[in-house]
């Protein structure tokens, strides 16, 4: 725990009312000096992988060695993912908001000496705006952040997620206290209905309506009822739920407790992907702390309402993101979706009424309860209210996490916030919705990003992954990628999904080798229709989407493979040849050393050449070359 003094004190300070919570909050605030500098180091998964733990350690030692006066001694805070992952490790100096990027442990001393002691700036660590080449000093002025509306992510990057005091200081658990002391469960449900919130997990089902149907089911079947967090963020390229669980775990927990209160549930489950160890750790800490403070467990805030939850680690199965598969998994079985035409609000976990919502959906609940459904409904567009968090990845300059109001044009996200494709070319397509979604081509870049517009464009919102593709990405290859992914991840129970996806992939495999005919394209469409119509669960029935949308928007590229044996993007191995441009090659021999089949030859410092008869097209030479001398034709 971060703040030991407060933690110990709290044992006798189990919060028993809204007043208690507010008094405790004031106590925390009083101990803080708003002018005291604070060094914030991002400890999100991305920054950690780039070495931010070493950076915060170096800053700590540099501080200790500096002999700074105790009065101005800065605090060091480690936070969840600040979103600008491509520029990590990130260090922010508060209260000024000085933003340092790509910080290495060796920079620590200079940051302390210059910025903390002398109040100077370490210029080389500032972010340079690629459009005008100017350095930007403050976090809030960076275009990546400036154009975002951080509602769900408001705490992330500001609070220490392992310290409940930090959460409480920034307003955490106010909504819960408000609901327990001043609102009936019915009023909570009504507020969610007014907000227009739709599930952030993919399908976009209205959350309020889901809760209402659960209440109706409870009326018929009685209790118990369960509330469940779907934290099995399996969409490749998506990491917003991971970020929320890691960076603001109490927001998810508070949302869940509010839902439990609204529905009269006493038991909940958080189903979290095993690949997210940090999220599991932070949620576990958050739950322990919440229990210690009387915010989770028996008689929460002395209201008479009791609720507790437990974390279920997923074990690696994409299909468990599907609600009924998730339930069978919690029950201790392989995650096969249930063959039933009954909604899970009526018959979910252990056959009981169950409300399952995604992490981001739950994290929205405290905000709505706090500020009102009308406030929330005013953000975004009429049928898609509020904000949505997207993970912007692939061929884009600013890779990271982005939160915008629903309904902003796709180009705003990719070009204005994301900074466009490296090199400045227009993007080719944006893949949204993961393996169930589709590709939106550049021509539709003004498409408003909301549930209904994305569906109209043939794609879907999904959980919010946005994968930017440029003209070096091949749609046949992307189609094969998603089909192979789903083939492996399909539970294999129903035949159209188990057999159909691999047969579709085989057809695409042929295309990637320049085989096949236009008739195969018709077959693909017909087989896709059969799978959509007959698969047992949403994984199967949405699986053809990536192929269908690319066939719709990029049919010429498919035809190029089939009729001309060409891969215009230069990706499909069997249709390309690697060659070295003799004018660019410096003869550094790096590629020749790496080539696994030793098919690159040449004299040192003279242009090299590839023996194409031996080349296995592994692409290592191209990845190795520092001079971009290796090309694909």
């Amino acid at each position: 725990m971060h703040d030991n003094a407060l933690a110990v004190e709290s044992e006798s300070l189990c919060l028993r009312s809204l007043d208690d919570l507010n008094r405790f909050r004031k106590q925390i605030m009083d101990k803080r000096d708003p002018d005291q500098p604070e060094i914030v180091v991002c400890h999100g998964t991305g920054c950690l992988a780039n070495g931010s733990a070493e950076v915060s350690e170096a800053i700590r030692s540099a501080l200790e060695a500096s002999g700074i006066d105790a009065k101005v001694f800065p605090g060091i805070k480690t936070t969840g993912c600040q979103g600008f992952c491509s520029h990590g490790p990130l260090v922010v100096i508060r209260p000024q908001g000085i933003f340092y990027q790509n910080v290495k442990p060796k920079d620590a001393k200079e940051i302390i000496e210059k910025t903390i002691v002398q109040g100077d700036i370490v210029k080389r660590l500032l972010y340079k705006n690629p459009t005008d080449g100017k350095k930007i000093l403050h976090e809030q002025d960076i275009p990546f952040y400036k154009r975002q509306t951080r509602v769900v992510l408001h705490n992330i990057g500001k609070i220490d997620p392992t310290d409940i005091c930090d959460t409480i200081a920034s307003g955490g658990y106010q909504a819960l206290a408000k609901a327990l002391t001043t609102m009936t469960p019915e009023q909570v449900v009504t507020e969610i209905e007014i907000s227009g919130l739709r599930g952030r997990g993919g399908a976009g089902f209205p959350t309020g309506r889901k809760w209402r149907s659960a209440l109706n089911a409870i009326e018929k079947k009685g209790r118990p009822v369960y509330v469940v967090v779907n934290g099995d963020e399996g969409d490749p390229g998506a990491f917003m739920d991971r970020t929320i669980m890691e960076g603001d775990p109490h927001a998810v927990l508070e949302g869940l407790i509010l839902g439990a209160y609204a529905l009269g549930a006493n038991k909940g489950y958080l189903y979290v992907r095993a690949e997210y160890p940090l999220a599991i750790k932070h949620l576990t800490i958050a739950m322990e702390q919440a229990r210690a403070y009387g915010l989770l467990g028996d008689n929460i805030l002395n209201s008479g309402f009791s609720f507790d939850a437990r974390i279920n680690r997923g074990a690696g199965a994409f299909v468990c993101g599907e609600s009924t598969a998730l339930f069978t998994s919690i029950e201790g079985n392989p995650g096969n979706p249930r063959p039933k035409y009954v909604r899970s609000v009526e018959e979910g976990l252990w056959g009981r009424p169950t409300v399952l919502n995604n992490v981001e959906t739950w994290a929205n609940i405290p905000l709505i309860v706090n500020k009102g459904g009308d406030w929330y409904a005013a953000i975004g567009v009429p049928h898609s209210t509020g904000t949505k968090v997207f993970s912007l990845v692939g061929k884009v300059n600013n890779v990271g996490l982005v939160e915008v109001p629903m309904g902003v044009p796709l180009s705003t996200i990719v070009e204005d916030i994301g900074g466009g494709v490296p090199g400045g070319a227009p993007f080719k397509a944006v893949q949204t919705g993961g393996p169930s979604g589709g590709c939106i081509p550049y021509e539709l870049k003004d498409t408003p990003v909301d549930f209904d517009s994305l569906t109209k464009a043939g794609s879907m919102m999904g959980s919010g992954a946005m994968i930017v593709m440029d003209n070096r990405d091949c749609v046949v290859d992307v189609g094969r990628y998603f089909l192979r992914f789903l083939e492996e991840e399909s539970c294999g129970k129903c035949m159209p999904c188990r057999l159909g996806l691999s047969r579709m992939r085989e057809i695409l495999d042929n295309f990637s080798e320049g085989k096949g005919s236009e008739k195969d394209i018709e077959d693909l469409l017909s087989l896709s229709k059969a799978i959509q119509d007959s698969a047992l669960c949403a994984l199967g029935s949405s699986a053809p989407n990536p192929v269908l949308t690319t066939l719709n928007y990029f049919k010429d590229e498919y035809l190029a493979h089939v009729t001309r044996q060409k891969c215009p993007a230069g990706v499909c191995k069997n249709l390309i040849t690697y060659q070295i441009d003799p004018d660019v090659c410096t003869g550094c021999t790096a590629c020749a050393k790496q080539c696994p089949v030793s098919c690159i030859a040449g004299e040192k410092k003279k242009p090299h050449a590839i023996d194409t008869s031996l080349c296995i097209r592994c692409g290592i030479c191209m990845d190795t070359c520092k001079f971009n001398a290796v090309n694909v034709i």
């Binding site: 199965a317 299909v319 392989p334 063959p339 039933k340 035409y341 083939e487 492996e488 991840e489 399909s490 539970c491 294999g492 129970k493 129903c494 035949m495 159209p496 188990r498 057999l499 159909g500 996806l501 691999s502 047969r503 085989e506 077959d523 017909s526 087989l527 229709k529 059969a530 799978i531 119509d533 007959s534 698969a535 047992l536």
Partner: protein, 201 residues
């Protein structure tokens, strides 16, 4: 009683019946592979898909698990239904080429050849799961498991080693629609505890 229509024919069903049960009651044919009255329906083969229509709106549902409801209109022979059936049967022809039962069923629905590559000419198990379900639900032993997932799914016993849990009752052999269990059976049952000759005494 619940009244609805199948192929515009008025039918009545008891509460809790499925569309498939009702259709069979009236002699309306719907093909199935994973269905068996002795075990709970699993909705795996999807061959029994039928079209549920309401005006212009329609969707396909699996008749073996779709509960009947007053006034619904079900169609068992529509272009969408045929499209699903034909693709499943054509894919099964390629996955289970050694099963005459599947070939016959496919032929009955007009599918006589497959455009897909045959990876294993001796394969006749389509992983309908009937063997596992009968062993668990009727025999009560759970000696057989459907293991792995996706394209790798297969039928076997734990660690793919013969298991003493199996009492060689042969129920799985009886329900297997393609006879594939005959090939798997000896990999499931453990060493007989007693020679058959002694058992007879």
């Amino acid at each position: 009683m619940i009244t609805f229509t199948i192929n515009d024919q008025k039918v009545t069903a008891g509460k809790g019946w499925t569309v498939l049960e009702t259709a069979r009651e009236y002699g309306i044919e719907i093909p199935t592979l994973c269905h068996h009255p002795a075990v709970k329906p699993s909705g795996a083969c999807r061959l029994c898909m039928v079209e549920l229509k309401d005006g212009d709106w329609s969707k396909l549902v699996a008749s073996c698990i779709y509960p009947v409801a007053e006034g619904i209109n079900i169609y068992t022979e529509t272009p969408r239904v045929h499209n699903v059936r034909r693709w499943i049967l054509e894919m099964l022809l390629a996955s289970c080429p050694a099963s005459p039962e599947i070939s016959a069923l496919a032929e009955a629905h007009g599918v006589i050849s497959t455009r897909f590559k045959i990876h294993d000419p001796s394969q006749n198990c389509m992983i309908c799961g009937l063997c596992q379900r009968i062993c668990e639900e009727v025999v009560g032993l759970s000696a057989i498991a459907v293991v792995d997932r996706g394209v790798h799914k297969k039928v076997g016993s734990p660690f793919m080693r013969p298991t003493d849990v199996c009492v060689a009752c042969g129920c799985c052999l009886t329900v297997c629609p393609t006879g594939a269990m005959q090939n798997i059976f000896d990999t499931v049952r453990g060493e007989p505890k007693m020679p058959l000759t002694q058992l007879a005494m």
